[in-house]
Symmetry: C2
């Protein structure tokens, strides 16, 4: 949008919105227009919500989760199994597992996966803290809930090696056919993993 | 995301982001996480930009454009042809035409298109103001730059009828093959319009 049309304030708003994941330049313009049209119903509450979030959100020092309290709600929840740590790359993965109600344990957020090509080494991730948590006698299992990508699996192997001396069982998520998935569309790797790990009905 | 995981502040931010066009619940969560991670680089400037926009943005009383001044930058620009009014449904269309540098004239934003099914009638659009602008003796042409949809074309016909008594030429955008478009993928309506309106090379 040329500057002469809508002024630098709108242009700046569009540029900032375009930096959100999932919004390109075109959808950022649509979002900005929508915000301007819904000034009181949406723009005002969004500004307030951002302000509140900016003030109140903290990172949990124990697990790396994002919350408004430290330690976070998950870490202080007495109903969760204290013997299991679920290792995830990102808070988004933690949220996904919680949405799925997949496990009732505590988490450890690495903050990414090892990626030599992108210059991400072990020192950039929260791995030391994980190893020290895994040495807690109360912990008996570490579940590596990492992406089934090269980087995710590299990270899983690296952590498995590091936890060799800790007295914990290290497990990973099963590979297989996604629920609702059609065999015809699945790659060979998934299909052969699903076949190898077939279960009795 | 269950409330217990991340607190009501984050949940509220996600809900508000999900109301932006182009962001669903999943991408709103990703956007919220991205904002939280880039607190100083993105969340802070975005909050400020929203605040500024909320305070300063006004609707141009002459044409309906969105700007920080009224009349807007386009309406007061002395380099634009004062004899032509380009009628658009929405400010987004105005921006699109300006980005394309398609015309150097003033605009008139209707604020939508006639849509009996959605209960949008002439009184809901800025049509009276357009008719009165079209009766200005300085105006000689009204270009209807409306969507080539049923609603857009209904609106174009309605406005053409109203402008019958005004001393202006009423034109519309050409139909044809989009630049870069492949004939194979075009619908029959577009193809026959492109054929009928073929031009000499």
């Amino acid at each position: 949008m040329p500057k002469a049309v809508a002024g630098p304030e709108i242009e700046r708003l569009i540029q900032l919105l375009a930096r959100l994941p999932g919004l390109g330049p075109r959808s950022a313009r649509r979002a900005a227009l929508h915000l301007i049209k819904k000034r009181e119903q949406l723009m005002a509450p969004l500004t307030d919500a951002l302000d509140t979030a900016r003030e109140r959100i903290v990172i949990c020092k124990a697990c790396g989760n994002i919350d408004t309290q430290d330690p976070c709600t998950v870490c202080v929840d007495p109903k969760r199994d204290p013997s299991v740590i679920v290792v995830v790359a990102d808070v988004a993965d933690l949220w996904a597992l919680e949405r799925a109600n997949a496990v009732n344990a505590r988490y450890h957020v690495l903050g990414g996966t090892l990626s030599p090509l992108d210059g991400v080494g072990p020192q950039d991730l929260s791995i030391d803290a994980l190893v020290s948590r895994a040495h807690d006698p109360a912990v008996t299992e570490v579940i590596l809930a990492l992406n089934a990508t090269v980087d995710g699996q590299t990270t899983a192997h690296y952590i498995t090696d590091l936890l060799h001396n800790a007295n914990v069982k290290v497990t990973r998520l099963a590979h297989g056919v996604p629920v609702g998935g059609e065999l015809d569309y699945l790659d060979e790797g998934t299909l052969s993993a699903a076949m190898k790990q077939r279960t009795l009905i």
